[in-house]
Amino acid sequence: MNTTENNSKKLTGLEYYRLFIKKMVILLVIFSLVPIFMINTVLRHYFLSSYSAKVMEHMTELIQKHKQNIDNFLQERLNNIRALASSYTIEQLTNEDFLLKHLGILQTEYDNAFVDIGVVDKSGKQIAYAGKYKLVSADYKDSTWFNQALKSKYYISDVFLGLRGQPHFIVAVKKQCNNKEYIIRATINFDTFNAMVEKIRIGATGFAFIVNKSGQLQTRNMYNLQTINGSSVLDFLNKIDLEKEEVHAVQHLQYRGKEFIFFIISLKGGQWRLVFQQEQGDAFSELYKARQMGIIILLLGSLGVILIYYLMSRKMIRFIEQSEQQREKMNEQLIESGKLASIGELAAGIAHEINNPVAIMVEEAGWIQDLLKEEDFKESENLQEFTRSLLQIKLQGMRCKDITFKLLSFARKTDPRAVKTQINDLIEEIVKLSKQRAKYSHVEIKTEFEEGLPEMMASPSELQQVFLNLFNNAIDAIGTANDEGLVTIVTKRSGDTVLISFSDNGQGIPKANIARIFDPFFTTKPIGKGTGIGLSICHGIIKKLGGDINVSSEVGIGTTFELSIPLFLESDGGIQTIKEFEERL
């Protein structure tokens, strides 16, 4: 035999069910949670991807709008200078009062976007200037912006410190006059420009900045930009290839111990880059909140499912335990009743076989007793001892008889089948049967039967058992208590019920015992005289018939047992009326 078989054999019924339920609960939990997790994962995936696409789209639109604003600003400022250059002669433009006047107009019109205006000749010398710095005759021949401006019709420089030592940038327009080239230049207010970029704020951590082609900041370093993977964040951003006009997004970039998202778009015809940076968690905060909520709901739901299954399994185990206990109890009862039946059969056999030999023994003893009375033995020295011994044999023989009789009552089977029964006749038979015993005990029997009681459906042998028991109890109760013993048996009809009473004028039952007299094995008779099951059986039989049994008693006066048995029966067709019942009978 293998180990598995051994193990399964060792399991008792309850342990088997416990294991079975445990396995079932685990399977149920798995089969319930797997679909929930799968649905949640799929939904989460679709929700996250669609929501993040939406966020990205929104951000892209926003960045494009800002890029447009900045580009427009630069273009407009350039157009302002272009209009100035083309509208006026070089003589007018080199007139400082004229320049000052137009600077004032531009500053008023464009919210101080212009700091100063100057005219520079081809040699790099500023020949006219209007503004707050003393830059008349300043030499720009070595300046990058000047050299770049000479190469094209107009030019917007990067941010640089220049002669004034302040960050600024220049818009320049080339003007030809009398075969000479002049550069009309204006300085753009850096603060105004910077404020345009700085106001691009989204969420708690989102901000924007501008870098040039070489990766140098063109706005203030407000946010302490650091390095990514050892190189400057600006270098990193600069290395990214950009398609013209398109927003490039970099997600989940690890930087300063956090994840960041970057949006990059080219500005100023590809010379600058507008960069927007935001913490990933901040950019997708609503999404992450929804995701967390989803996880919490999922976990709580799973916990709920597990808890319900756990409670259900406990309840099932308890139910099975109870059923198992009931089953065991029933098995025990079955075994017990089987034993009782076997004992009953054995007892009947023994009683029957034993009574004859005991009778012979007792008769033999009686015979010897008779013989001892004759003359020859009267002289015997041991006569008294013989007599005592014989008396003892007779006494013990009678005791054997009592025991076998009890065994027989124990084994006796009554026929429980209900047939048409006339109560008066049944009691009459019992009275006849017990007449001699009553006479022997000096008890008179009085009967008051109501004439014409209808027959009823009942088991005669069961009812006989009840009546005989009550009758014998009455005679026993009188015993020696009353020399003029009287047992009165009355039957009468009361509506749809037959009332039967057995009254005696015996010793009565003490109040303390009345409540217990129908309890099995309760007896007040001396040991060996009563089993205590007679009244309990009577109670059971009468209750089975739908009736009732009541007792009233007074010590020293007597006892009355009153039975009420209904005349009608409950059949498949419902309760029949008395008339129908009587007709049927």
């Binding site: 049967l433 022997y440 042998s461």
Partner: protein, 133 residues
């Protein structure tokens, strides 16, 4: 009853020891005693002897049982009183016995003096009935 006023009884039991002993004991009490070991023998003795007053009849017997014998006795000799005696008493048998006309139904082991009294009572009843008739 015999001419001498003695009560005549017939003891019927398949156990010879019982019939012998009872017979011996009743003889000492001035009864006239006849014995039979089965119902058939009992009936033939009753048919042959009309002095028998009381029959003491065992219920469980091989062949014809006590109740069948009782029925036949009462059919043929209604005046004779029968006391049933059994080692296996049941209410049904007792009721049936009384219905068939038995004087009483007693359980073995019976007290000899009680049986003695019972026979006398049965005998009295027999004579009362006879006188009425």
């Amino acid at each position: 009853m015999s001419t001498s006023g003695q009560i005549t009884i017939l003891i019927v039991d398949d156990e010879t020891a019982i019939t012998e002993l009872m017979a011996a004991r009743f003889l000492t009490r001035n009864f006239i005693v006849f014995k039979a070991n089965n119902g058939k023998d009992a009936l033939s003795q009753l048919d042959a002897n009309n002095t028998i007053d009381v029959v003491i009849l065992d219920v469980k017997m091989p062949g014809m049982n006590g109740l069948e014998t009782l029925k036949l006795i009462k059919e043929r000799h209604p005046l004779i009183e029968v006391i049933m005696l059994t080692g296996y008493p049941t209410v049904e048998d007792a009721v049936d016995s009384l219905k068939l006309g038995a004087f009483d139904y007693l359980k073995k082991v019976v007290d000899f003096e009680q049986l003695n009294t019972m026979i006398k009572l049965a005998c009295e009843k027999k004579f009362k009935t006879k006188n009425i008739m």
